[in-house]
Subunit: 441 residues, 2 copies
Amino acid sequence: MNQALRLGVAGLGTVGASLLQLTQRHADELALRCGRPVVVTAVTARDRFRDRGVDLSAVAWYDDPISLAQSPDIDVFVELMGGADGSAADSVRAALDAGKHVVTANKALLAKHGTELARRAEQNSVSLNFEAAAAGGIPIIKTLRESLAGNRVGRVYGILNGTCNYILTRMEREGIAFDVCLAEAQRLGYAEADPTFDVDGFDTAHKLALLTAIAFGTEINADAIYVEGIRSISTADIEAADELGYRIKLLGVATRTESGIEQRVHPTMVPKSSPIARVDGVTNAVAVEADFVGRLVLSGPGAGGDATASAVMSDIADLARGDVVGTFGRPAHTLKPYQQAVMRSHAGGYYIRLAVYDRPGAFASIAKRMAENNISLESIVQRRRAPKADAPEHPQPQAPQPVMLITYETTESQVKEALDRITADGHIAEKPQMIRIEQLA
Amino acid sequence: MNQALRLGVAGLGTVGASLLQLTQRHADELALRCGRPVVVTAVTARDRFRDRGVDLSAVAWYDDPISLAQSPDIDVFVELMGGADGSAADSVRAALDAGKHVVTANKALLAKHGTELARRAEQNSVSLNFEAAAAGGIPIIKTLRESLAGNRVGRVYGILNGTCNYILTRMEREGIAFDVCLAEAQRLGYAEADPTFDVDGFDTAHKLALLTAIAFGTEINADAIYVEGIRSISTADIEAADELGYRIKLLGVATRTESGIEQRVHPTMVPKSSPIARVDGVTNAVAVEADFVGRLVLSGPGAGGDATASAVMSDIADLARGDVVGTFGRPAHTLKPYQQAVMRSHAGGYYIRLAVYDRPGAFASIAKRMAENNISLESIVQRRRAPKADAPEHPQPQAPQPVMLITYETTESQVKEALDRITADGHIAEKPQMIRIEQLA
């Protein structure tokens, strides 16, 4: 039997504890599958004496992540502390510079410093692996980096945030409002007390940046991604989508276009018949379209201690076998800079919901503005709101009525211009809702 | 730049031609991603002068696969000829013995000789890779072998034959009979002139044997798999399944049970809400349930020259990077012998369709036989057939009527015994139809 691969694990939260359980429970099988034992030899965490349900008696304790990262007693530094900077960044840099391979589940760290860290790993001839940082237990990193090495990717898109998908699924199934669903998700532990990072799309953007770097060979530039969250989605939008044959998902989408790679995160109307439309609850899914393979769809758990530990172990097993791959599947210096996509030129269909004052000429005026911007309409849904039981029998002529439009393919700038003009005309009572439609096979 | 990886390709059918196109079209990107150029240096095929739409001018031609396999001018022998024996088997053995890595898409070869060939590869310290041999472009081999290295797999199941799924999908959507769908599939090139291998389940069994070997560490023993094809499925079964909340798919299923690994291929009723139920047409899908990751589902093209070439290149790229993995993800000598599962003891729910003579006491007799075998019924669907326009107004009392039953969980031997007794009682007009139900989350 070959020498054991020695792991130093920094961070013993849910994922760290699961990883230790995994290495202990499956020690024999791991040794068979990796060709050598895989052993956690040292750990560090904030609280040494918390009970985590794992036996730490044979494991060296370090008080400081940087000392652990530089320890001569480890071969791989496993960073499970989280955070884009601070201890995580410092200790990962220290480990790479000390010639240690690094495995991390830290998407925030990579979204901020990924390009720099990949270069640093390359300079030190070590690996920086991060299967667990995007889509949890789903093996999308290895798939893009290795299985699709012979493909030119055209588009990668996915449901990358379980909190948002849980909220949208409940809104759809139970017809309840965003705020109510969010509170419920918080109560059940699916959403953080401060939900901004999830519901405003930033978490999805971080993961998308990682997928894009591998799929298209671009540098990480998460700040350049167009990001829109799900707070503006109403049950009226979800019902209209249903009626029109769509479902609403928060997608991260990276597409090869004539003017470069477009990265965007926003609520998206997807055809009900597409596999991604049927991914419900906290489950994640990623689809890849590429020239030789066609379309692959991978779905599974996007979070959770055990599923994340499974992905971390995937990276560790690769290192145990001696498989060293560039962080983003190619030499770091060949990554191309990523420029922000100009969303005004994004072309596709759009869903538009307007609260239109119920008065003569209002709809004619809206239709005229659309026509002026060369926007053709595929569907129009206008439903008179049922008068409430205690409402006057004849609603006020001024009461706004929801009107939903689906456009044929047009550009974002045309839609924005038309909506600005419609707003200026004064026939609508609220800011227009606009949701992009993604054409999926 | 490192030295090129030199490929010798045996077989220039659809997949071989696609592979050559891939290596030529993506040469620069492949070199970046693999760390070295990947070049086809030599080929062999039956007909030297057929136009395959690829430039062979810079490639050495061999008349004989064995000479190619042993050529000092190649590093990897890529076997794309097909067939369980003959040239394919001989040349793969020759290549391994000559110290060449082998990449193959040949499921028949591996299903018959997989254990022996894995040992031979190990003895010669080379790799035998076969991502393309199961589920085409879907990266299920790497996922099971590498990504899930830290997991104990409980169940693997999937739609592994596009021909069968195409036929079942059309039967369901259009209400047309098996024979008509098969003829249509043959006309469109989705089914062979001799469809036995596909529709009787053997192709699925071959692929399942490969997945099982990796997932559970068993030797390949395709002959020991319980196999039932889709010829007996009627539109009545499909309609009844729909009514009862199920769809019918030909599944390959490998499960860890108390008495060992159970492998089976048969038409299966799957809940409509399960992801696998929604995989339509020629698309394949594989689900894996494992202790740490939970459930993963991968779907994509199961066949086709380009998708298969993508999977072949995945194996080649691993070799180019120097990643050498055991054929079935562990040392070949550690694979455990596989004994045929006793299907009589398979436990689960069952769908049963009986053509019952419409006479007093018939149903009571059937219900009694079920009860005698401790079988509880979850649903009973009995629909009187609408009399045809030209039929006598009162059907003959003897005309058989379809009765569909869904049982709660019971054992296969109980069901078989009850059906034998019901048949002997003489109340039914045809051999009973019995379809297993798979419980899926």
